[in-house]
């Protein structure tokens, strides 16, 4: 296949085919970002429909009509699947990974540009397969994003025969796409750092995305094998998970959650990396305990392989194993808490400017704290007996997933928008969008903590059949949550308007509008193909902000030590 697209001469005519067939890591990053945002619209519409059904059971939902219980299950399944695999992963891992890793490491592209393009194409195919599954007979798969057999393995039970198989195929394709992408990220980050850049000169977001890619590669294998077995169960009638033939449904749960828990750290770490970058830049301060954060990220990654069965405390596993997993689950809360404390400590002694990216970053820390602490209730096996699969669990993981997928993504988009598109976003619109989204988010999920503690169980499409739950008080809470969701969704067009208008008519951005240190700010914005006129050499760490006797409060990594500003500083001294 001729490498026409990558030949610099041809690249300049921005024909649509060249764009579609480009292997430039920045173009591929944008393709992932836009696909992720598009899928977020579908995920958002799904949650609007079924939350309206929960608030006003049985009534016709505007733009959708009456929701049957089968449709409800499909909408819930699609919301969960899309938001994790087709919004959080592509935007956080693939879009920011593809855009930032070559730029922040000071090289011109990923080591395997064509494999990078192939990974997006496989991802696009997986998105098409998933969306196609909405329209097959029987509708989209209705067995929850965890797809527990025998419900998922047996069309007689889930009544969405084709939707179920297409769902597994789409998720498997998405895994292949991120395996291809992961190999690219890890190899590029390991081998092609800029000259002079030592291990701890690599910015934290690159560390986090690489650790996340390693976690993903190490955890997805068993589930891919499980997915092959599940498709055979569905299509060929083998009995891997069918007890009648000797199989075991618990085997799938273990295969799934052995992947599932590292997966939530795969999406958490990039968001933590983005937030750390933004906090360091906008408080003009060195990241507190940079090495500690990297070590705790690695420790969190390793421990995340020992905690998976806390999703299955009451699922029929051996109760003694549950005691073991309670201990490991509470142990993993220690490094994560350490990381968040380091973020908060970074603010101490800073000079904080509350631009929109910083607002989002601080909101991430504030909201994620509640997500983290409510995890303790569920990690403790005793309390999980009552709380498992209630809305308390749902509220907990939305207080972790929403900061990760939505707040983390908005932090990254608003921070790197000038670098991506060469123009500045509008601050006023940014702040309006920020405050309404954050307040609405809390209005949704605080009530759901309460309804969850009161006994609301997940994926039940109408509570009127349960006398203890059909009380007006609880129904008011469910309506409040839905109103919160509607107001959250209604403010998103402000962001899309700001995003599209600024891309075309926003004020022109300089190369380094936020006065940051990392290498991508030394490239012009938007960076041309090949990123840097001449590839930068690195002289110091990425967080040399406000060094004592330097007049500027920032010190880009690529400036030689004897740079024009008068006083040589006490910061890292290194011969070029």
């Amino acid at each position: 296949m001729s490498g026409l697209a990558t030949h610099p001469a041809v690249h300049h005519d921005r024909g649509f085919v060249t764009y579609l067939w480009s292997t430039d890591h920045k173009v591929i990053a944008m393709q992932y970002l836009f696909t992720g945002m598009l899928m977020a619209l579908i995920g958002g519409f799904a949650v609007y429909v079924f939350r309206m059904q929960l608030a006003f059971p049985g009534q016709s939902v505007p733009l959708f009509g009456r929701v049957s219980s089968g449709q409800y299950n499909s909408l819930v399944t699609m919301h969960g699947t899309i938001m994790i695999f087709w919004v959080a992963m592509p935007v956080l891992l693939a879009a920011f990974g593809n855009f930032l890793i070559p730029l922040m490491l000071g090289c011109d592209d990923m080591v395997f540009p064509r494999v990078n393009r192939l990974s997006y194409q496989v991802f696009l195919l997986s998105a098409v397969v998933l969306v196609a599954s909405f329209f097959v007979s029987g509708g989209a798969f209705g067995g929850a994003w965890t797809a527990y057999p025998p419900l998922s393995a047996n069309a007689a039970y889930n009544l969405t025969r084709y939707g179920a198989t297409l769902w597994v195929v789409a998720v498997a394709l998405e895994f292949v796409a991120f395996l291809l992408g992961g190999v690219n990220f890890i190899t590029t980050a390991m081998n092609s750092r800029a000259p002079g850049m030592r291990m701890f000169d690599v910015p934290i977001v690159v560390w986090m995305i690489v650790i996340a890619s390693i976690l993903f590669m190490a955890s997805v294998g068993p589930l891919l094998a499980g997915a092959v077995m599940l498709v055979f169960d569905q299509v060929l009638g083998t009995g891997f998970y069918d007890p009648a033939t000797g199989g075991d449904p618990i085997l799938w749960q273990h295969l799934f959650w052995f992947f599932g828990h590292p997966e939530v750290y795969v999406v958490l770490l990039p968001a933590m990396g983005i937030v750390a970058e933004v906090i360091a830049v906008f408080s003009r301060k060195k990241l507190f305990g940079f090495r500690t954060i990297v070590y705790t990220a690695v420790a969190t990654g390793v421990i995340s392989f020992f905690v998976w069965a806390h999703h299955q405390f009451v699922a029929g596993i051996d109760p003694r194993m549950a005691s073991l997993f309670t201990i490991t689950t509470l142990i993993i809360s220690v490094p994560i808490a350490e990381m968040v404390f380091c973020y908060i400590a970074t603010l101490y002694g800073g000079s904080i400017t509350l631009a929109t990216p910083m607002l989002w970053a601080l909101a991430f820390v504030a909201e994620f704290l509640l997500g983290g602490v409510t995890g303790i209730f569920l990690g403790a096996a005793g309390a999980d007996i009552y709380l498992h699969d209630t809305y308390f669990v749902l509220a907990h993981f939305h207080y972790t997933f929403f900061p990760i997928a939505i707040i983390g993504a908005f932090t990254g988009i608003t921070f790197w928008f000038p670098k991506m598109f060469g123009r500045m976003m509008d601050e006023r619109l940014g702040k309006i969008h920020f405050w309404v989204t954050i307040i609405a988010f809390n209005v949704i999920f605080i009530p759901l903590f309460i309804t969850g503690a009161a006994g609301d169980h997940r994926r039940i499409f109408d509570y009127s059949g349960f006398p203890d739950l059909a009380t007006p008080g609880l129904q008011r809470l469910r309506i409040t949550a839905t109103m919160g969701l509607v107001s959250l969704l209604s403010v998103q067009p402000v962001f899309f308007y700001n995003f599209i208008r600024s891309m075309v008519r926003g004020p022109i951005a300089s190369a380094n509008p936020w006065r940051a240190n990392t290498l991508e700010w030394s490239a012009p914005s938007p960076p041309p193909h090949g990123n840097f006129a001449e590839l930068p050499v690195v002289y110091r760490g990425p967080y040399e902000y406000s060094t004592e006797d330097r007049e500027d409060d920032f010190w880009p990594q690529h400036l030689p030590d004897d740079s024009p500003t008068p006083v040589a500083s006490v910061g890292d001294r290194r011969s070029a």
Partner: protein, 191 residues
């Protein structure tokens, strides 16, 4: 040839980028086959009764296939050695021998499977046979993938170009051989 980015020319960790990528692919494949074979072993521990199902597998064809894969691994490492000595055409020839080995392996497996299926042991005639066909099938898919990649590499190697790829595809092939080394006792010897 495509203008390769400068990123690939850098070698900070001391392992060439191509080979480093293959090691990471092998890492994800180890976990993939580990999960599948782990599940199979766990099920075997529960079902002692599978032993008499497994009795119907033909150990001799399994042993012969192991011999074929070991030989193809030998020709793969000899191809890598030829590539080390910058002898492209010899490396390409040895790679094609390896592909031939893979072909023989698949042919033997095809005959074996048709025989077993004709005898009524299909993928749905019991969980042992489901695991037997899934594990061996996934492995065979990796053999086919290896043969295709090896053919592409042999084309460039014949022109003495990109000889480092010979080693990389060789490492992948040895991994496929190691997976079969464990599959053989699991499916054929544990009776």
């Amino acid at each position: 040839m495509t203008s390769r980015p400068i990123a690939t020319t850098r070698n900070v960790m001391g392992v060439p980028t191509g080979r480093l990528a293959v090691w990471w692919v092998l890492a994800s494949e180890t976990v993939l086959f580990g999960g599948l074979l782990g599940s199979y072993v766990m099920m075997r521990l529960r079902h002692g009764a599978w032993a008499d199902q497994a009795a119907n597998t033909n150990t001799w064809t399994g042993a012969f296939n192991t011999l074929v894969l070991l030989t193809s691994s030998l020709s793969a490492v000899l191809a890598h050695q030829a590539a080390e000595r910058a002898d492209g055409p010899k490396a390409a020839l040895l790679l094609r021998c390896t592909i031939l080995g893979g072909g023989v392996f698949l042919m033997v497996k095809a005959f074996e499977w048709t025989h077993e299926i004709r005898e009524g042991f299909t993928i749905t005639s019991g969980l042992f046979w489901s695991f037997y066909y899934t594990a061996a099938g996934l492995h065979a898919a990796h053999v086919v993938a290896g043969m295709v990649i090896m053919f592409i590499v042999s084309l460039t190697a014949a022109r003495n170009e990109e000889l480092h790829r010979v080693e990389n595809v060789g490492i992948y092939w040895h991994f496929v051989d190691v997976v079969w080394i464990f599959l053989f006792p699991l499916l054929y010897i544990a009776k």
